[in-house]
Symmetry: C2
Subunit: 254 residues, 2 copies
């Protein structure tokens, strides 16, 4: 019981930290090293060249096809994951259904509380689109946290910011009615995940429902209601938020 979580989906991160050329592994689209990576998260600017090299030497890149499971709740977690392309969902497998915790994209990395407890995953991840990601040894990350105070402090700050937005999510799921929760999900997708409006929704209706803590039929009905109220327009997977102010209002009212 009790509440209040931890780490996990960073707002941004090492990115383009692509492939280390290794003859035995398939070669991907880019094989630069972390050292000259152009899209590093600010948190990594705390690191020396040597420290970045440590990360670089303990990573490898994999690709996932849409729908593939990246890791599964309960399994050992020797790596954290930096998304380099595509989207993935993070979800808890609960009683019969899933709770979608969030969606990660390039610039995000995935790190769970298990790394400081028993090195197991406490949630699952699956690719939503064809994706590539760097898998980095967790111990090298923990080593940096131990040895670089600035890095550790920045990490704590990111974890904390995450925690604060999580509170909002908990309140949304437990205290808002379905329209409010769907409004929150649409705002999240538009403003945080796809960063555009209109946007192409690459998640299924079931995923949207899992993100909002309801059945997929209910999620579809709320979307329909919003459509009829001219709050949004939907054509296939293209979602256009016509009235963002009203949507934010629905989010507030619950």
């Amino acid at each position: 019981m009790i509440f209040l979580n931890f780490v996990i989906i960073s707002y941004s991160s090492i990115n383009s930290c692509i492939i280390r050329s290794d003859k035995k592994m398939p070669i991907f689209h880019n094989n630069q090293s972390c050292l000259n990576c152009q899209h590093k998260s600010e948190i990594f600017s705390c690191l020396t060249q040597g420290e970045l090299g440590l990360i670089d030497q303990n990573r490898f890149e994999v690709s996932f096809k849409a729908g593939e499971i990246m890791f599964k709740q309960g399994t050992p977690s020797p790596h954290y994951i930096c998304m380099t392309s595509g989207l993935a969902k993070i979800y808890i497998e609960g009683y019969g259904k899933n709770l979608l915790l969030g969606i990660v994209k390039p610039h995000d990395y995935i790190l769970g509380p298990g790394i400081y407890v028993d090195n197991r995953h406490y949630f699952s991840a699956a690719a939503l689109t064809d994706s590539t990601a760097c898998l980095v040894d967790v111990n090298s990350y923990k080593k940096l946290i131990r040895e670089n105070t600035e890095f550790a402090e920045e990490f704590m700050t990111r974890v904390s910011k995450q925690a604060i937005s999580n509170f909002e999510q908990i309140i949304s799921l437990t205290q808002k009615q379905m329209p409010g929760r769907i409004a929150d999900a649409l705002i999240y997708l538009s403003e945080i995940v796809y960063e555009s409006n209109p946007f192409e929704m690459t998640i299924s209706r079931q995923d949207l429902a899992d993100l909002s803590g309801m059945s997929k039929e209910s999620a579809i009905r709320i979307l329909k209601d919003f459509k009829e109220e001219n709050l949004i327009r939907i054509e296939g997977n293209r979602v256009d938020i016509l009235n963002p102010a009203a949507l934010h209002n629905i989010s507030q009212v619950g």
Copy 2:
């Protein structure tokens, strides 16, 4: 959006870290220092005498009457709180109603994600019974995290363990039906908070409802059902779990 939280209610902590004698403040029942405190949380065993002294010099003790608010969501948070006697509830003030995140007792301390972000509280705390607590300067804690690697690592571990149990709470609230959630709450109260069976429930029905994410009427009805099924016995505030196995089963089934 997204999820997954942070810090906050530690499983155990500095305790009996009672009053520093200060003529200008009311004197409480004990004025030993942290240095010879008999009930320190294991995490503080990482600290040197000097480090403990730092905590000792930056704390003071207050008492709260039952029902009094200890701090309020949104206000600045210059201290973290070590409970030294009594019980307190931690809750988020949501849309019209509260979500009770957990109950703290002596050996617990309260620390929120705000300390690494904007030094504000993201939840409120109120005394459930007459209580005493040490308020300790947050910066001295953060300083220790920065300077003592072992302490920092232990802190991360505690935060992570907390996070893991939080996942269970999120799943309970979002995926279980009312009987499952009340079962979880009763198990939490018996096994974690009061550590006894039967136990004297010092929280109100409204608090129980807030802890389980439902209306107080619904909480009462589920208790009645459990009583009629001979799972529990209730006399006033005394709760006796007659069939813990069945209660755990209800928790599992949802």
